[in-house]
């Protein structure tokens, strides 16, 4: 495995290493090695192993297997539709997170700069653009993006599609969630279904789509149980280990691994509660975490949790926000799911969710990790902070970078969280 970056490391990798990695990723052997490595160190809990297996399987299908079309998409497109259509979704931002875990994000970020991506764009996307250019991402047969929540990914995917002469579909997601908006979005999903059937060579099978909806509903029910279990005091899970939930939420639903993951997570959480053995031993104050967190190895989160005793009791992106999907109206209910995302629409929706979660998980305060370059999450933080403050909930806004360790100023971050936790305790 390549050397991991920690702190402010600035690795440079020679071409041989990258070439070897490219070959490894496209071979079954490479994937077996990765599985063995994950089982040893990173994926030790049962649910982590499910996810590791899922992503490795996804990688096998995207990188090594040429039998199923690979569709690159962003995190807010409905994965149930991809699974239901028999496609393999590939999420460049999620894989940029994985690259951060592997210490490869700098390589991507530097590569993006050489391609002309301005340095102020979100590093998830810049890392993705650079890794693609380095040949470390798989092929794409088509691209799909949503217009809401993230401008950059959609624009970048449109650019890739244009450069490769591949189809690109933009799902134009309204900000309102009334019935007219549902109809408009559902019609686009229907068009997408028809188009794939015509272009991908994978025939449309309504039963397969219904099956994906069923699996999604099963996973949803289990995920809701996990959310309920996390109300417990002391908090059963270490919140820092849940900061990557967005990747799961965007890709597992509609796939059998989603059911397996949430079942394993539910059982594990229950067991921790039953044994009175929370993952985090010292728990002094409970926090609600907004947006994401560093995906690479850093001392920051262990300091927050273990040294200061702050518990991330629940995360914004662990929220299962949507209603049960309707098998008989798959595209319409997926449209509803997309439109009801708490970060779609005005900021008040996001604030309402924060208030509900702070109360439900008995949090004393909230932390927003502002990922560099993410305008949708950070743009209206002043309003979020004021509205939470009005309800007596302090919000700490931390500037950082989820993907590029070079942009994490550890010293000032530590000082600020120390002061915040001290105030709350």
């Amino acid at each position: 495995m390549l050397k991991r970056i920690t702190g402010n490391g600035r690795p440079t990798r020679d071409r041989l290493q990258i070439g070897a990695l490219k070959r490894l990723m496209r071979s079954r052997l490479g994937l077996r090695l990765a599985r063995a490595w994950l089982a040893q160190g990173v994926a030790t809990r049962p649910h982590d192993r499910v996810v590791a297996d899922f992503f490795l399987e996804l990688a096998a299908r995207a990188y090594a297997d040429r039998s199923t079309p690979v569709v690159w998409t962003n995190l807010f497109a409905p994965c149930e539709l991809m699974w239901g259509l028999g496609l393999v979704p590939f999420y460049p931002e999620t894989w940029a997170s994985l690259s951060a875990i592997l210490g490869l994000s700098r390589l991507g970020v530097e590569g993006a700069e050489a391609l002309g991506y301005p340095v102020d764009l979100c590093t998830f996307n810049r890392a993705a653009a650079g890794l693609r250019a380095a040949g470390l991402y798989p092929r794409a047969d088509a691209y799909v993006a949503t217009s809401n929540l993230c401008d950059v990914t959609g624009q970048m995917l449109a650019g890739f599609a244009h450069a490769e002469g591949r189809p690109f579909v933009l799902l134009d997601v309204p900000q309102s969630d009334d019935e007219a908006a549902v109809t408009y979005l559902a019609a686009q999903l229907d068009e997408l279904v028809e188009r794939w059937a015509a272009e991908s060579g994978v025939p449309y099978d309504p039963e397969r789509l219904r099956g994906a909806i069923r699996l999604s509903n099963q996973a949803r029910a289990l995920a809701l149980e996990v959310a309920a279990l996390r109300e417990a005091h002391p908090a059963p899970l270490r919140g820092s280990s849940m900061l990557g939930e967005l990747g799961n939420l965007s890709s597992l639903f509609g796939h059998p691994a989603g059911v397996a993951y949430y079942r394993a997570l539910r059982d594990y959480t229950q067991e921790r509660i039953g044994r009175a053995e929370p993952e985090q031993a010292v728990q002094k104050v409970r926090l609600y975490w907004m947006h994401l967190g560093p995906q690479y190895e850093t001392d920051f989160l262990p300091h927050l949790e273990d040294d200061l005793g702050a518990v991330i009791a629940f995360e914004e992106f662990s929220t299962v926000w949507w209603d049960r999907l309707d098998e008989e109206e798959p595209t319409r209910s997926l449209a509803r799911k997309m439109l009801s995302h708490p970060l779609n629409g005005t900021v008040e929706r996001r604030v309402d969710m924060a208030l509900r979660h702070v109360a439900r998980y008995d949090c004393a305060g909230a932390v927003h990790f502002s990922h560099w370059g993410c305008r949708q999450s950070s743009g209206a933080l002043r309003v979020v902070r004021d509205q939470l403050r009005r309800e007596g909930i302090p919000l700490l806004i931390l500037d950082g970078d989820c993907v590029d360790p070079v942009n994490l100023q550890l010293g000032p971050l530590r000082t600020r969280v120390e002061a915040f936790v001290e105030m709350l305790v």
């Binding site: 991506y117 950059v152 599609a161 134009d172 007219a180 908006a181 005005t346 305008r375 743009g379």
Partner: protein
Amino acid sequence: MIDEDPLAPTVGLFSSYLPRELVYALGCRPVRVFPSAGKPTAAEAFLPRNFCSLDRLILAGFLEEKNAGLDAVIFADEDDATRRLHDVWRASVTVPVWGFVEVPRAATPLAADRYADILARLVADLEAHTGRSLGAHSLRRAIAVFNEQRSLLADLKRHWLAGSVNTVAYRRLRRTALTQDPVTANERLRETLAASEGGVNGSSDPPARRLLLLAELAAPAGLVRLVEAKGAQVVAEDSDLDERDMAEPVPADAGTLTETLAALARAYLSKPPAPRMRDLSRRLAYLSRLVAERGAQAAICAYSKFCDLYLAEYPSLKAHLEGLGVPVLLLELEDEAVSGQHRTRVEAFLEMLH
């Protein structure tokens, strides 16, 4: 319609996809919102420092001047930044929001139908705000006024490209068209056209290097002055001020209100695409046409710093234009001023074109 009624509410619009005709037909003066602050300082308490600098400047202007001469504004769902600006606006600016319009991002029949419905809802909201009601006839009259403006602007462009109107005057008049009531603006356009009739520039200067400028709302005036002072000639500007402003007449000679709204919806969604549409094929085809028609030899992207949609499109645009033999310079601007560093880069770029 207002026909120069001084008491008509002035309504600021945040997008070139919002039909001014509709606002005008309801007795309001529709104006495009331009930044009025020199620096974004006043916005710093409300928007993060790495937020689109154009939006920060606009907000700063309203925070400094309270209402900046507007009675209301209408937002459009342009991008993440506009959505968040809309959130912050409602918490910090006293000018009321009369609408947040979900302009679709496609020119398909589905999107046009959706937009027509949305415009009908906007009409209902505006009727509630203004106390007036809109009929097909007054909407068609408003469309005729703006169609006339489009025709005058097309003449003005011909004069500018022929050299009988200089770039500064051309751009000033275009801005007038976007920020004044259309009857007055049309009058000024007619006067200018009459005065410049036959006055084609017969300069014997060596042919200038022909530049395409690209910007969101408008390229900064200082940049235009700089490039022209350095012997280059601006021959096209891909911005809301110029090429992406609706140039084609809206066909609406007859029909019900619903049909007229549908005509407006179709026309606005089909205008030259902005990056918000994510329709790179159509956008690059339109830019290629512009380059070919005007003989542009180089391009300068004068984009606001942190403006994601434009900046994320940039690598594709650069590759495409360079493929056409058109070198590209990217400037990321914090405000309207052209800094010393930007000036140096522009000068070096123009030198390179020799």
